[in-house]
């Protein structure tokens, strides 16, 4: 049995979800290193696309990796760099974000960003059959935010649900708090809040509580942070549901890739990890004591 080296490249922990990705990636690497003594892992997290490209270049030229697992921060910018890794004969697994040309990766472990928007929209339609005013707290101005928002807007089209305004809250608690405070100042009538992300939702909830308007509205986050799933499970009125978008998808990708590289287990194609609606009924399935996210 030959030694294999597997490179894992993820974006830096610049918000809660990517923090989760980093955590799960390292945790999985630690675990698999024990399971497969012949496998060496090279892990890097990058703040931006050039850094991430540099990381995978280094993995190829100095660490002689056999396989690469990559969650590209900015897939369009990274497509040709990933293609070069592929062209160098490495096994490539892409996670979460679709590259701008098809057929580069051997394995695609996908989250479903538009699905997150659509799922959320469906819940809003169901919860607000007569329509009403809502506000949207977006993420960072990057493509996945755009995909989620587009799908959401498409989902509520034709209903009486009215988006009063949207602002970037950068998937961040502090900004969620600020933006929500100001929305509350500005709009006397808000029935629903789409925070898109659970970190943002934490901040928004504090703002709503401070204003004493918990009873007027509900809020939907996203990504499935443990603290939020617990709320859903507890039947919190303010936070009736959550939408999963599990950072642990990176673990799946690393496991599959390692199994292939070490054991020659044939894996290929697409694994779509669906974005599902977490409700009080199914919340227990998503609770995980160990997860820091």
């Amino acid at each position: 049995q030959d030694k294999v080296t597997i490179g894992v490249s993820v974006p830096a922990a610049d918000h809660g979800w990517t923090g989760g990705v980093n955590y799960f990636a390292q945790q999985t690497i630690d675990r698999l290193s024990k399971v497969y003594p012949d496998a060496t892992f090279v892990f890097a997290s990058a703040a931006d696309a050039p850094k991430q490209i540099a990381d995978i270049e280094d993995m190829v030229s100095t660490r002689n990796i056999d396989a690469l697992v990559i969650l590209p921060g900015d897939p369009d910018a990274m497509t040709s760099a990933i293609k070069q890794v592929k062209d160098a004969g490495k096994f490539v697994t892409v996670v979460d974000r679709q590259l701008s040309i098809d057929g580069v990766e051997d394995l695609y472990v996908a989250g479903d960003n538009p699905g997150l928007g659509t799922n959320t929209a469906n819940y809003f339609k169901e919860a607000m059959p007569d329509g009403g005013n809502i506000v949207v707290l977006r993420g960072l101005p990057i493509p996945i935010d755009q995909q989620r928002v587009d799908a959401f807007m498409a989902g509520i089209e034709g209903t009486n649900i009215k988006v009063l305004d949207d602002e970037f809250a950068n998937w961040n608690r502090d900004d969620g708090f600020k933006v929500m405070q100001d929305f509350l100042t500005r709009f006397p009538d808000i029935k629903g809040v789409w925070a898109q992300d659970d970190d943002t939702a934490v901040g928004a909830i504090e703002a709503i509580k401070q204003a004493g308007r918990e009873d007027e509205m509900f809020i939907v986050g996203g990504a499935g942070m443990q603290q939020m799933i617990q709320r859903v499970a507890d039947g919190d009125k303010l936070m009736p549901v959550d939408v999963s978008y599990n950072p642990a998808m990176i673990s799946t990708a690393i496991e599959l890739t390692t199994a292939h590289a070490v054991g020659g287990v044939p894996v290929s194609g697409r694994y779509i990890l669906e974005s599902t609606l977490i409700t009080q009924e199914n919340a227990s399935e998503f609770l995980d004591e160990e997860s820091p996210f």
């Binding site: 602002e167 970037f168 961040n172 708090f177 970190d199 204003a211």
Partner: protein, 334 residues
């Protein structure tokens, strides 16, 4: 033999002409307030005003420290990351004390002390490297910015450190309550600002900061202990970061690697909008306060309207910052 009486200079009527250097930031503030009023009738509401002031207070308290550092010719880029470390350590300490001390006010108080201590220690580190190590402040604090940021990420294991829920409940009033309807953060900010103004204007330390920023050499020849004064500015900055975080933690009860990102830029911007010169030698605390409020209002106003695409928020912010300083033009670092 004596000399004929010297001509006594007539003092010019000061303040008769409009002094744009002084009035500039205030004018910008007034214009922003008018803009806010015209956009939304709730702008001047008690809630909105306290919201904006309370959430500006973190940057405000930090920026007051930065005013001293910058006036003395220094710079501290590490304050944002430092704030994150302080918050992280406070949360870890408080969570760790619960088993032994239970959920008690004592836990919160020890956490607060730990926060101040970490801030002060970080300030001492920065200050010693700048003064004893003779390394440019920009480099020292760029370095510690990276180091502190890494440290939080490490402490939080890439994720978020959350304060125990029960302790958080106990601590929460420190952000949300206050006296006579004025939230604590605003009160603390005001006290720090008043204290800072007094120290800057009416103590030897404040005078020495300006002297050192103006000319290190002259200060040395005037028997000022330049290194010590510099060091103290960094320590004051560190402690004030600690104070700011004392108010930050009760708000959301968490710290992560994104806590305090870009606070340094915001703090420095506030200081300079307020009329302090970046190269040192002249600082004014009240200007910094105005600068902080201007920056706070910009964000608020952007959230109160819908015509500007949120994509262009940054542009609006940039334009206002430049305009605020344009209003005091004439002043210029030599």
């Amino acid at each position: 033999m004596s000399v004929s009486a010297p001509e006594v200079p007539a003092k010019p009527a000061r303040g008769m002409r409009i002094d744009f250097k002084t009035v500039g930031p205030l004018l910008a503030l007034v214009l922003l307030v008018l803009l806010g009023i015209s956009l939304n009738e709730n702008f001047l509401s008690y809630n909105n005003i306290t919201n904006v002031l309370a959430r500006s207070s973190f940057i405000g308290i930090i920026a007051i420290g930065a005013t001293f550092v910058i006036t003395a010719g220094g710079l501290d880029l590490s304050v944002g990351s430092m704030a994150a470390v302080v918050a992280g350590v406070m949360i870890i300490v408080m969570n760790a004390l619960i088993p032994s001390m239970g959920v008690s006010v004592g836990v919160v108080l020890i956490g607060m002390l730990a926060g101040l201590a970490v801030g002060g220690a970080a300030g001492i580190g920065n200050g010693l490297m700048v003064t004893r190590g003779r390394i440019e402040a920009f480099i020292v604090t760029l370095g510690t910015m990276g180091i502190f940021r890494s440290l939080v990420t490490f402490l939080a294991d890439g994720g978020t450190l959350s304060l125990n829920f029960n302790v958080a409940d106990l601590y929460r009033p420190v952000y949300y309550n206050g006296i006579l309807g004025v939230p604590w953060p605003i009160i603390v900010f005001a006290l720090v600002a008043i204290g800072g103004e007094i120290v800057m204007r009416r103590t030897a330390f404040g005078r020495y900061c300006a002297a050192i920023g103006s000319s290190e050499q002259v200060s040395r020849y005037s028997s000022i202990n330049v290194d010590n004064v510099r060091l103290i500015t960094y320590i004051v900055q560190g402690i004030l970061v600690g104070v700011a975080v004392l108010l930050y933690v009760p708000r959301l009860g968490s710290a992560s690697s994104t806590t305090g990102v870009l606070w340094e830029l915001e703090a420095i911007a506030a200081v300079i909008i307020g009329g302090t010169t970046l190269k040192g030698g002249y600082g004014r605390i009240w200007g910094t306060v105005v600068g902080v409020i201007i920056l706070g209002l910009i964000g608020n106003i952007l959230n109160l309207q819908s015509f500007i695409s949120p994509y262009l928020n940054g542009a609006f912010q940039g334009v206002i910052i430049i305009l605020a300083v344009l209003l005091q033009r004439g002043r210029r670092a030599a």
